[in-house]
Amino acid sequence: MASEPLLELDSVEAGYGRAALVLRGLTVRVPPATIVCLVGPNGAGKSTALKVASGLLKPRSGRIRVNGRDVTGEGPRRMLATHGVAHVLQGHSVFPEMTVAENVAAGAYTVRDKAFVARRTDFVKELFPVVAERWKSLAGLLSGGQQKQVEFARSLMVDPSVVLLDEPSMGLDPKTAGTVFDQVVRMRDAGTAVLLVEQNARRALEIADIGCVLDLGKVHIEGPAGDLLANPDLADLYLGGSARAY
């Protein structure tokens, strides 16, 4: 846990247009090959935090670092291709009128090395069997859980060092959500760090290594995910009921 963070948001302030700030001094560190889970109420700024981390949204102040290097203000293309930060958006974000194969190919848009792309394609097909099974189907025709796996596969094509996952279990039935959580663990085990945002906080903390509770644009509590799960006050406030019930 003491290792140098791979991705670091340091005292980030950010917001949309002239509206009030959404993030008010957010600090989050993601060590290598670790699942860091960001939980917090709706509207707390979790999605906004991920957008800042992937370059979709420029912070007003604060720094973003990857491997200790300051990358503040860089756009999504460089964040992905140069710094290895991939982002899977909240909700459905496949390209619906493209085949699964084309979606996966789009994930490697910034990569010119054909052999590398072929290796990554084999890798994601093996990690997500659905991707291989539905290779020729239009992505928009897949179920929600299958689409999410296509999105995962697409994001892993560049072999990112960290993936940002925004509520990947949203809208999925419990069994499918379970599959998706398993796959998040497998991504981590394959060496990719994960910054995971979840409404389903309890399930997420169960697979995470580190938990952060975000409220009003700031991290209020941070610690080993197990400690957060066991903390009765937190359970009441953020995890929907007391941990003592378990």
Binding site: P76, L80, A86, L89, E97, A105, A106, G107, Y109, S155
Partner: protein, 291 residues
């Protein structure tokens, strides 16, 4: 036999509609822009082809060498300098006003430079027609169709088989996800706009071969084209092409019993039917559901 003649003419007309509708679909796809000036650019290209032929005596088809790149660059510039300045929240609405103004501007310029006189390109082969299983088809119409079909095929191959096409389709289908895949969606949208305007250049040249043109002619085109892209499912190029063919054919078939004006109403009937029964369009259109 007259019916067969109408079918042939309908297919030939449908090809031109399909190409132009593909252009409109591109603007809407990349920018959510309703481009009222598309048909004004069509007529502008037709004038340039006619003028080129009148001044040089060279076949008007050759004018494509100049108008296609010119329109492409104009399209990119229009997206960069005008459309991208519009605020996202009101973009579609404002784009109607903005491009309406551009259409009026082009019409005014054409009237000013070339006067309101009706113009027609006179070619050595203007009067030639071929016998096609009993139907008489003017050679210029065949050439116009061939041009439109080739351009449409080229566009299709570009979209389906090139790296740029992948980026363009990704930008149309989910802009933010496209950015996260490393695609420069602003640049791609500019090129998409340029391609759309290039279809107007090609269509205009085809039009100049066999149609009498005048500055306000574009108003006859924009309504049917708008109807086609709604029926086809906004944002779907194949959908627009199928709708264009079917409606072009229907229009042509209705021309004999109903006359030209009433035959045109087929577009509006189809438009109302689409909005009433299947607002996402009849072909493709998973995309349109999201807007």
């Amino acid at each position: 036999m007259l019916t067969f003649q109408s079918v042939i003419l309908g297919v030939l007309l449908g090809g031109l509609y399909a190409l132009l509708a593909a252009g409109l679909t591109l603007y809407f796809g990349v920018m959510r822009v309703v481009m009222i000036a598309h048909s004004a650019f069509l007529i502008l290209a037709a004038y340039l082809a006619w003028y080129f032929h009148r001044e040089t005596g060279i076949d008007p088809l050759v004018s494509l060498v100049g108008t296609v790149p010119l329109f492409f660059v104009l399209g990119v510039a229009m997206q960069r300098l005008l459309i991208s300045r519009l605020r996202a929240a009101t973009l579609t609405m404002m784009s109607v006003l903005l491009t309406f103004a551009i259409a009026l501007l082009i019409e005014g310029l054409l009237g000013y430079v070339f006067s309101g006189t009706q113009r027609r390109t006179q070619l050595s082969y203007s009067g030639t027609s071929l016998d096609f299983f009993g139907a008489r088809v003017a050679v210029v119409k065949l050439i116009a169709f061939g041009l439109a079909a080739a351009a449409l095929l080229g566009l299709y191959v570009l979209l389906k088989a090139s790296r740029f096409g992948l980026a363009l389709r990704a930008t149309i289908q989910h802009r933010e996800a496209a950015q996260l895949a490393g695609i420069d969606t602003n640049r791609v949208a500019g090129y998409g706009f340029g391609l759309g305007l290039a279809t107007a250049a090609i269509g205009g040249t085809a039009l100049a071969l066999d149609t009498t043109i005048y500055p306000s002619l574009h108003w006859h085109w924009i309504g049917p084209l708008m109807a086609i892209i709604v029926v086809g499912g906004l944002g779907s190029v194949p959908g627009a092409a199928i709708a264009a063919m079917l409606l072009g054919l229907t229009q042509s078939l209705l021309q004999l019993p109903l006359g030209t004006t009433w035959a045109q109403t087929v577009f509006y009937v189809a438009l109302f039917a689409t909005l009433a029964f299947r607002p996402q369009g009849f072909f493709g259109g998973r995309l349109a559901q999201r807007f």
